[in-house]
């Protein structure tokens, strides 16, 4: 093993990108919403997200008896904030807004905030179905999070760094999806699960009338739903630096390749929901712990051997 890998100079974008990032992510989310509306056969797909947002902006916020309104609203607000903070370490092209030396850990920590957020929203409404939805997400977290962590740690292991720009650099010759396909597949599944996106939408499913979001209306629902979509977009976008070589690609500039690859991952996630029914955690947890965790550990071990052999 010899000397430590060379730590590159911080290569972050100028500070004003921090202000631009929410706008950019909002725009991408908007495009995804239009795409989803078109895919589910909705009419006037282009206008649907706008009408929905306007509907929620003019909608009345409602309260339930003995609700913990403060807790619920902090929970709802946490979702978009966590998604934006997670996106700060995302290389937009070659450089992220914040080039943290522990970028992978930062991303994981922000994404785990969603556990608390959804549970707080479900608990805060003092409604039985909301509570069921909130706890479903906690159970879901227990099922998907460990395989997910092994998957992202495998990418960090391959690059011998937790810094996302270094992970991208390490894929200059070979994208990590080639040497760690299992980790990539598990990452995709858990990206859907962390945004409680179908087929992992049990926490907000129709069978419990919207679950954690059952009592939300007006702006509260807008913030919750918007935060969830942002999470989905950020989780999908993070697959690009971790496994798909970041901005690497011929002809086009790096940012364009990031956009193209992110769109491809998002399309795959939209298709997943179309293709599969909702996976209940009482069934999935068995698969996650008995099959996925050993698989991801084996994957990490294999990559570790490759790294040791190459050193």
């Amino acid at each position: 093993m010899g000397e430590m890998p060379v730590v590159p100079e911080p290569a972050a974008l100028p500070w004003w990108w921090a202000l631009l990032l929410p706008v950019l992510l909002g725009f991408v989310t908007w495009l995804v919403l239009v795409g989803d509306a078109a895919l589910s056969g909705g009419r006037a797909a282009f206008a649907a997200p706008g009408r929905e947002a306007v509907r929620l902006v003019v909608g009345q916020r409602r309260r339930t008896v003995a609700a913990d309104t403060v807790l619920g609203r902090i929970g709802g607000g946490t979702l978009p904030v966590a998604a934006l903070l997670a996106a700060a370490v995302l290389p937009l092209g070659e450089r992220p807004v914040a080039d943290l030396s522990v970028g992978v850990v930062w991303f994981n920590a922000m994404e785990v905030l969603a556990w608390a957020a959804v549970w707080m929203v479900g608990w805060g409404s003092n409604s039985a179905l909301g509570l069921v939805g909130g706890y479903r997400f906690v159970a879901q977290g227990l099922a998907y999070e460990l395989p997910h962590m092994f998957a992202i740690i495998t990418a960090a292991l391959g690059a011998e760094s937790l810094r996302l720009t270094t992970i991208v650099d390490a894929q200059r010759d070979l994208w990590f999806v080639v040497i760690m396909p299992v980790a990539f597949a598990v990452y995709l599944v858990s990206a859907a699960a962390m945004a409680f996106w179908g087929p992992f939408d049990a926490p907000v499913a129709r069978d419990v009338a919207g679950g954690a979001a059952v009592e939300l209306s007006g702006v509260d629902r807008l913030v919750f739903a918007g935060g969830r979509w942002l999470l989905l977009v950020v989780a999908a976008a993070m697959a690009v630096p971790l496994f798909l070589g970041g901005g690497a690609g011929p002809l086009l500039p790096a940012w364009a390749w990031v956009a193209v690859k992110t769109a491809a991952v998002l399309a795959l996630l939209l298709w997943l929901r179309h293709r599969f029914p909702t996976v209940r955690m009482d069934r999935y947890v068995e698969l996650a712990w008995v099959v996925l965790i050993p698989l991801t550990i084996a994957q990490a071990l294999a990559v570790a051997l490759v790294v040791l052999g190459g050193a």
Binding site: D207, V208, P277
Partner: protein, 350 residues
């Protein structure tokens, strides 16, 4: 320029509609669902998500009380319609949209704070209380709280605390009394299942249908359409919206007299080939059989419309028993698979 009025007009182009199905008035519900699909208006999951409360049919006294409790929980801007006959559907929906876009009306129709609070409690739980059996009817005036509680833990804000009881693992856990229905997505019309929950495991359950004597049974013009309707609701509960939409489109085609053999074959193949669905519904017991077997019976009945399905009717009378020990998600699947008919539930429960 009045910004609110402008926003209201934009929002009214695509309102979410909460459909309350009256037992027996299936024809109106079908016409309403078809009209919503045609307009691209989403079906609301609950009162909080709704702009329009649409009652499909003429409700009896018990369901009417539920409807007014649900109405109190719908946030403004809102509109309420009652569709008595299928041909009225489009006219009523247009009227609702016009009302939603009418800023003057929506400004005066604010939901009173106190009543909203009282009615909004426990979401879909609260509303069913109005349909409680007669011995509890005296509590209904209190505004939709848990009126059949057996709680001894005192009250908070007028609501009973959960009581304690032994659970399946011998632990002493909170028991919560929650009525499921009659206003739930993909739920049989007028059905109310009162359950005692520990966590999300059902400890006790009893089912009945509101205004049970009131309903005139609906004569389906096509038995394939009836089974496709049940299938669409089952797939909705299973969280497979794309397949559920496919089933609903086939149902509507069958009702308008089109040939559906090819489309049905495609859908059935898709469902039977889904290993995920099989994995999810396998081994959920529903009396003598299980949910997967009930689904297969329904699929067979769609293929061979003349063959009457064996399932459901006798089991439905014991719906409550079927649910004991199930988790909430499994219970929803059992109810959707059994798909009790209004005529066959609750005769012994009154």
């Amino acid at each position: 320029m009045d910004l609110t009025a402008l926003l209201l007009r934009i929002a009214a182009r695509r309102p979410h509609v909460l459909v309350v199905a009256v037992p027996g008035a299936t024809g109106v519900r079908l016409a309403l669902e078809a009209a919503l699909a045609r307009r691209g208006w989403p079906v609301a999951t609950g009162p909080a998500d709704a702009d329009v409360l649409a009652v499909a049919g003429s409700p009896g006294p018990e369901l009417a009380a539920v409807v007014s409790a649900v109405w109190e929980q719908v946030p403004a801007p809102r509109a309420r319609i009652e569709v008595r006959e299928p041909p009225e559907v489009d006219q009523r929906l247009d009227a609702a949209a016009a009302l939603l876009a009418d800023a003057g009306h929506q400004r005066t129709d604010v939901v009173p704070e106190a009543r909203r609070d009282a009615g909004a409690h426990a979401g879909h739980g609260g509303e069913a209380e109005h349909g409680a059996p007669p011995e509890h009817a005296g509590h209904v005036d209190h505004g939709g709280h848990h009126d059949h509680h057996h709680g001894h833990g005192g009250t908070v804000a007028g609501l009973p605390m959960a009581e304690l009881g032994p659970d399946r693992d011998g632990l002493t856990l909170d028991r919560l009394h929650v009525p499921l229905g009659p206003v739930l997505p993909d739920w049989p019309a007028g059905l109310v299942v009162r359950v005692t929950l520990q966590g999300d495991v059902i400890q006790e359950a009893s089912a009945d249908v509101l205004d049970a004597g009131h309903a005139v049974p609906f004569e389906w013009p096509s038995s394939a359409a009836r089974e496709l309707d049940g299938l669409a609701r089952f797939l909705g509960v299973a969280g497979w919206p794309s397949a559920a939409g496919q089933a609903r489109r086939l149902r509507d085609a069958a009702l308008s007299g089109d040939r559906i053999e090819t489309g049905a074959a495609v859908l059935l193949r898709r469902i039977r080939r889904s290993r995920t669905l099989r994995w999810l519904i396998r081994g959920i017991p529903a009396g003598p059989t299980d949910v997967a077997a009930l689904l297969e019976e329904r699929l067979a009945a769609i293929e061979a419309p003349l063959r009457e399905p064996q399932h459901g009717h006798h089991a439905a009378e014991r719906l409550g028993e079927l649910l004991v020990g199930a988790e909430l998600a499994a219970a929803r699947l059992i109810v959707a698979a059994v798909d009790p008919d209004a005529r066959h539930v609750g005769a012994g429960h009154g």
